[in-house]
């Protein structure tokens, strides 16, 4: 498949350099006529009425933004927030309505995006008390002020919202003394993650940690009671609970019945827009490079992926060579002796099937049908799929290699008293292998490139590694190009080695 240029390695080294230039030029040219980086026309919630709004499907933002449909807004729902941001950057939508927390992350990573100052929708959560219990309310308010000031509140919220998976902060009761001021009974409804929810049979969440922090300050023992949400206010009013902490939004209606503390947190929907600064010409900047490969050790996805790719390729080619040789020897023997017609048919059919269907389909069949019920490692599945695939191509390479050895070699072997198998082993195969080495090397290169479809069954190979980085950094250019360069480098090295081998074999034959 890959014919070699006679100039070999030097041309290739040059090619790699020129390539980057070419692709950059192509890319710039393509970017040029795209009107991606104009400033959004959305300056406030008012402008949403005539805007195309990107949202994440099913989020609060989606629900709120949908209210503007009747005014003529067009809502485009994306499965991932990141996709919506991507669309915004490419001017496919005018703005994105999304939760404040992820919005901050997106804007941090994209200099061309800004969050509008005007919050789109705010819900403030506060603690509620019985109308009569202003004493506790005041105490709690001052406790709240204290934990707001010393950062405890932010730490609690952060640990649940932004860093949930790898949270380093966990609120731990800080009072060393036994609580002396009695019990603080808190009513909540533990089904509103992350504010309050059940985990391992315990109620936990932001509200619980906040309550604990308050209890610590007040020197009281915390007791949390789980109940229906709509019973909380009744429970607080009737004095069954001292206070209600359950992500309760402050509304005028509620204020009539109960007292609210100062709000301790706000869930905000914000509007992200393009700010008109272009980050186009920055697509090879150090920052970009850092974001794509150095931050969070993202280069490891490529390194790991490369290893997986090489692993699959190597194992598959070994399997392909072993199987391919067996099939080729079987085919040649069947045709030569005219015996084992059934075996010959089976082998022929095998070759027809493998070479008549896409590798992708073979991969899917092997993954979803053959190994559906066993919990075999995916990489092994890929090795088997690519191994079987290449075995068919290698079989034909080897067969033509064997057939290129003159009949006389066979007769010489047999007439010396060697058996068919011995003749094959000692005389035919060694010569055939030498003849087919270049073709086998080529097959290795073809296979290496072909393994890039492994991602389809979820293997983190080199291609998928780049794709994964892309999905994290919202930058398609650098990861894909670097992956392409890595492939190109490996293929070039293999081609150069192959060329050397071919030249040596040619000299050998002189």
């Amino acid at each position: 498949m890959l014919r070699k240029s006679s100039n070999g390695v030097r041309i290739k080294a040059f090619a790699v350099v020129l390539m980057v230039t070419t692709i950059l030029l192509t890319f710039s040219a393509c970017q040029w006529d795209s009107s991606a980086q104009t400033k959004s026309d959305v300056h406030g919630a008012e402008d949403l009425k005539s805007a195309t709004i990107g949202v994440q499907l099913g989020t609060t933002g989606d629900i709120y933004a949908s209210d503007y449909k009747k005014d003529g807004a067009i809502i485009v729902e994306y499965n991932k927030g990141a996709d919506a941001i991507q669309a915004l950057k490419k001017s496919k939508v005018d703005c994105v309505v999304i939760d404040e927390q992820p919005a901050k992350n997106f804007v941090k990573q994209n200099a061309d995006l800004s969050i509008l100052d005007e919050a789109f929708a705010v819900e403030e959560y506060a603690i509620c008390f019985a109308k009569s219990n202003t004493e506790l309310r005041d105490k709690v308010n001052s406790a709240l002020a204290q934990i707001k000031d010393n950062g405890t509140l932010d730490s609690i919220i952060d640990s649940y919202i932004s860093g949930k998976d790898n949270s380093t902060y966990q609120y731990i009761s800080q009072s060393n003394t036994v609580p002396t001021n009695g019990t603080l009974t808190v009513a909540t409804n533990a089904s509103f993650e992350p504010y309050e929810y059940m985990e391992n049979g315990k109620i936990c969440g932001i509200d619980i940690d906040v309550s604990q922090a308050i209890a610590d300050i007040l020197g009281m023992e915390l007791k949390v009671t789980d109940m229906e949400f709509d019973s909380i206010i009744t429970a607080v009013s009737s004095g069954k609970a001292d206070m209600g902490v359950s992500g309760i939004t402050i509304t005028d209606e509620r204020k009539k019945n109960i007292e609210f503390s100062t709000p301790y947190t706000a869930a905000k929907q914000v509007i992200i827009v393009r700010n008109g600064t272009s980050d186009n010409n920055a697509f090879l900047s150090v920052d970009k490079f850092k974001a794509n490969f150095l931050d969070e050790g993202r280069w490891q996805y490529l390194a790991q992926g490369l290893l997986t790719t090489l692993q699959i390729t190597l194992l598959a080619v070994i399997m392909g060579i072993v199987l391919g040789f067996l099939i080729a020897i079987g085919r040649v023997s069947c045709e030569k002796t005219g015996k084992y017609k059934v075996l010959n048919w089976i082998l022929k059919t095998y070759l027809t099937i493998i070479r008549g269907t896409p590798t992708m389909i073979q991969l899917l069949i092997i993954y979803y049908v053959i190994f559906a019920s066993s919990s075999i490692d995916k990489v092994l599945v890929a090795v088997i799929a690519f191994g079987l695939n290449s075995s068919a191509y290698i079989a034909e390479i080897v067969r033509s290699g064997i057939e290129s050895i003159s009949e006389g070699q066979f007769e010489a072997g047999r007439s010396l008293g060697f058996t068919y198998a011995q003749t094959m082993r000692h005389f035919i195969l060694p010569q055939a292998i030498k003849n087919v080495l270049p073709a086998l090397g080529n097959e290795l290169i073809v296979l290496l490139k072909e393994t890039s479809i492994s991602g389809y069954i979820g293997i983190m190979d080199l291609t998928r590694g780049g794709d994964y980085i892309r999905s994290r950094t919202y930058d398609a250019f650098l990861p894909l190009i670097v992956v392409a360069l890595i492939y190109l480098a490996i293929v070039s090295i293999l081609s150069a080695l192959l060329g050397k081998l071919e030249r040596r074999l040619k000299n050998d034959d002189k």
């Binding site: 003159s406 006389g408 070699q409 007769e411 010489a412 047999r414 007439s415 010396l416 008293g417 060697f418 058996t419 011995q422 000692h426 005389f427 060694p430 010569q431 030498k434 034959d509």
Partner: protein, 247 residues
């Protein structure tokens, strides 16, 4: 079944056809120990086929071949063992190009006769010396001339210490100046008492060395006599035509 002790190969009603083409139509003859049998015949008459039947490179359709009293056409006979007694030298040498001359000579004794490599090498070097090629022992076949290759091929056959050697036009792929050196080796071999069956167009060789000449025509033995009688007094009409053309 003739089984007198001086008969090396007894051939009985040997028939061979390819598809509908009957090539050999019932050949019966004995080849005695130490005999040098030369086979003549027009091109395509089946000389090579006959020779190849003798070591079962071709499977006869009918008839029997007894080698030292063993019926090698019998299914039960281990043909690979029998073949070791009856070596063949080919028109196109068929040396193994990926092995050195020495390896070409020693691989069969080492692998098949379980000879020790040292002994095999010693024997091979002695044979190479006999044909004047000991200094080529570690070169590869492609570095040799045709005549040298054929002499190596003869050595390869001798290395297995066979009881019979079959020659299929061993000199016809050679440039004329090289024919002599191969024939010399063959003559020496004949004198040493080796049983030989030769297909050749070298009439000089036949006249000088052959103990018997057989002429094959239409798939049967049309004449079977001493070289003297065959060349000076051919009885068969076709043989007369044949000789008039090639002499």
């Amino acid at each position: 079944m003739t089984n007198s002790s001086d008969v090396m190969i007894h051939i009985e009603n040997l028939k061979k056809s390819f598809g509908d083409d009957n090539i050999l139509n019932g050949i019966t003859t004995d080849i005695k120990k130490g005999e040098v049998l030369v086979i003549l015949g027009p091109s395509g008459c089946g000389k090579s086929t006959f020779l190849r039947c003798l070591n079962l490179l071709e499977k006869p359709n009918e008839g029997h071949i007894y080698l030292d009293g063993v019926d090698i056409t019998d299914h039960k006979t281990d043909i690979n063992i029998q073949r070791q007694k009856i070596m063949m030298v080919f028109q196109h040498f068929n040396l193994f190009p990926h092995k050195t001359i020495l390896e070409n000579l020693t691989i069969a004794p080492i692998k098949l006769k379980k000879m020790s490599p040292e002994k095999a090498n010693e024997k091979a070097m002695a044979l190479l010396k006999r044909v004047g090629l000991e200094e080529k022992a570690n070169t590869y076949p492609k570095q040799l001339s045709g005549g040298q290759k054929q002499r190596v091929a003869i050595c390869r056959a001798l290395c297995m210490e066979p009881e019979v050697i079959l020659f299929d036009e061993p000199t016809s792929a050679l440039d004329p100046e090289m024919v002599g050196e191969v024939l010399d080796v063959m003559k020496e071999l004949a004198k040493s008492g080796m049983t030989m069956v030769c297909v050749t167009h070298e009439m000089g060789f036949a006249k000088e060395v052959a103990s018997r000449v057989v002429f094959i025509d239409e798939g049967v033995i049309a004449e079977d006599d001493t070289p003297k009688n065959v060349f000076e007094n051919p009885k068969n009409q076709r043989l007369q035509d044949f000789l008039s053309k090639i002499l």
